[in-house]
């Protein structure tokens, strides 16, 4: 769509315009980058976003608190479990609700599985974009197991909607723990294999080192969070800095880089996968039988067998579905450490059935806004590497 801001207006005649996207193999979603080139070199990159805008925040103002959960799946669809967890954490903060121990540990396990899945996709796809196809295949075998585990627990592979306000949709089946335990070993070996293929590979070095480097001060100023910020050298991780879900009980390290370039972000993500495996192993050890949702029928639905046999439970079910949860009036901002960075939910409640305002703070929006700065004066091939390492997920970017 041509308008006054299309860069053709500012052309000096020599520059060539290339559109990356809206539909291009490297965009992994629908977004458009208008590149102004002089020869092979990028003089300016203008990102145009909004192609996947569904109006999630507007919809949220018209849906009940429970009904919003499926919309969170579609934010970062590579790690939907973490969005589920992030959203219900915000609502539980508003309600000042404490969830059962087993639910907390299972949330940690699925969040970390989702983080590994997200990092696998990010590194795998980034390598494919640059031309290394093999690593991608090794990694996607592991992602398949993660999706099997998600299917086992929630019934869905991608759009999990596994969490409920006050706990989880249901307990995991007995096969979950042994498969998850086996996955820990296999995934560790796959990460080693991936590192053997990439970390000391000279072509990988040529393509990634020095591309998109950024200082810590700049990264903070641009609103960076997550692996992209940590690759610049700041150990900011909400799991340590502002622990939620009992992350302070777990023993794990935060990897940091030094330059913030594509290579450092790759190393940070690779190490984070190992640390996530460590967390899952500890969480599996601590897992004990127990309820997975609060025993408060003003917040969570009573079990179906009670609804069918008991009067009070039927009334609770009816009240909860028709009138929703009784919410306090107030506003909260709750942030969790998602795979891409700080995923925040800002909820304003007027006490009604639906949030008065719900805002999603997507981690990759501020990161992507610095794209022009990162690729200016570099080759198109570097833009490809940079875009993959930023891990832009259009569903989350456009909401």
């Amino acid at each position: 769509m041509l308008n006054a801001h299309t860069p053709t207006a500012a052309l000096d005649g020599d520059r060539m315009i290339i559109n990356l996207g809206p539909s291009h193999p490297i965009t992994h979603g629908t977004l458009r980058i208008i590149l102004e080139l002089e020869g092979e070199f990028i003089q300016r990159a203008t990102p145009e976003i909004g192609y996947l805008h569904r109006g999630v925040e507007k919809l949220g103002e018209n849906l009940s608190y429970q009904q919003f959960i499926p919309l969170t799946d579609r934010l970062n669809y590579c790690s939907s479990m973490q969005n589920n967890v992030g959203y219900v954490e915000a609502v539980e903060k508003l309600l000042a609700l404490k969830i059962p121990r087993r639910a907390q540990l299972l949330r940690v396990i699925v969040s970390e599985l989702a983080r590994i899945g997200d990092h696998l996709v990010c590194i795998g796809i980034n390598a494919v974009d640059i031309g290394a196809f093999t690593a991608f295949l090794y990694l996607f075998k592991q992602r398949e197991t993660i999706y099997d585990l998600f299917e086992m627990s929630s019934g869905q592979r991608l759009h999990t909607s596994f969490t409920r306000i006050g706990g989880l949709m249901r307990d995991v089946p007995p096969e979950f723990v042994p498969l998850c335990g086996r996955f820990l070993g296999e995934c560790e070996a796959a990460v080693d294999e991936m590192e053997a293929l990439l970390t000391r590979n000279p072509i990988w070095h040529d393509r990634t080192r020095g591309v998109g480097a950024m200082s810590v001060e700049e990264a903070v100023n641009w609103g960076y969070t997550g692996p992209c910020l940590r690759a610049s050298g700041l150990a900011q991780d909400l799991r340590k800095a502002q622990p939620y879900l009992g992350y302070d009980e777990f023993d794990f390290d935060i990897p940091v880089g030094t330059t913030g370039d594509v290579f450092d972000r790759y190393l940070v993500r690779a190490e984070e996968m190992r640390q996530s495996l460590r967390i899952i192993r500890q969480a599996l050890d601590r897992l004990e039988p127990g309820p997975v949702i609060v025993d408060d029928y003003k917040v969570a639905l009573p079990p179906k067998e009670k609804v069918y046999t008991r009067m009070e439970s039927l009334i609770h079910h009816f009240k909860l579905v028709m009138h929703g949860i009784e919410m306090p009036v107030g506003e909260v901002y709750s942030a969790t450490e998602a795979a891409n960075g700080e995923l925040g939910f800002y909820i304003v409640s007027d006490g009604g059935k639906s949030p008065y305002r719900i805002r999603v703070r997507p981690p990759c929006l501020p990161i992507f806004s610095s794209f022009d700065l990162k690729v200016k004066g570099r080759l198109i091939a570097d833009a490809v590497a940079e875009l993959g390492a930023m891990n832009i997920i259009a569903g989350e970017l456009d909401r």
Binding site: M1, N3, H5, E218, W222, G223, G330, Y333, Y346
Partner: protein
């Protein structure tokens, strides 16, 4: 507490302050907002986490622009709300926080609140000739078929599709 330090530095600046579920909130008037931003920056609140707005349709002034800051050294967080009326502009923070660039464009796009001094204030998510600002409370959930409204002026379902009814 940062709220106490603000009170000590600028007595009477805060229109309102409150804490809820551990979130500290400060409400400042539009005219003195930049003074507060300067002070917060010196105090270490250098990470602008989020910037958004809330539409209180029947209130005067109509909007709250909501900023979330984080102090990365102490991990302290602060929410600052600035009430603005219809058509009133807020000073842009792009010169100090680069991350404000897209956030302010999004608030302009979704709420129609202008930011003075923004280098290129145009829509972020919707396209340039899109009618209206979708996150305003008086904007219908069913905006009709946006590609047809300009020609026909009607919604494809006669406005019947609303989740609220």
């Amino acid at each position: 507490m940062i709220l106490d330090r603000i009170d000590a530095q600028f007595p009477g600046l805060l229109q309102d302050r409150h804490g809820f579920r551990g979130d500290a909130t400060a409400v400042v008037p539009r005219g003195r907002f930049l003074e507060l931003v300067d002070f917060l920056f010196q105090e270490g609140f250098q990470f602008l986490v989020d910037l958004t707005a809330v539409d209180w349709k029947d209130r005067e002034p109509r909007f709250d622009v909501v900023y979330h800051w984080c102090n990365l050294a102490s991990q302290e967080r602060l929410r600052v709300k600035v009430p603005v009326g219809e058509g009133q502009a807020l000073p842009s923070l792009v010169s100090r926080f680069k991350t404000a660039d897209w956030y302010e464009r999004e608030v302009w796009d979704m709420f129609g609140i202008p930011f003075e001094g923004h280098p290129e204030l145009r829509r972020l998510l919707m396209w340039e000739d899109y009618p209206g600002h979708p996150l305003r409370k008086d904007y219908p959930l069913d905006g009709g078929d946006p590609f047809c409204t300009q020609d026909t002026g009607t919604s494809y379902a006669g406005g019947a599709r609303s989740l609220q009814d």
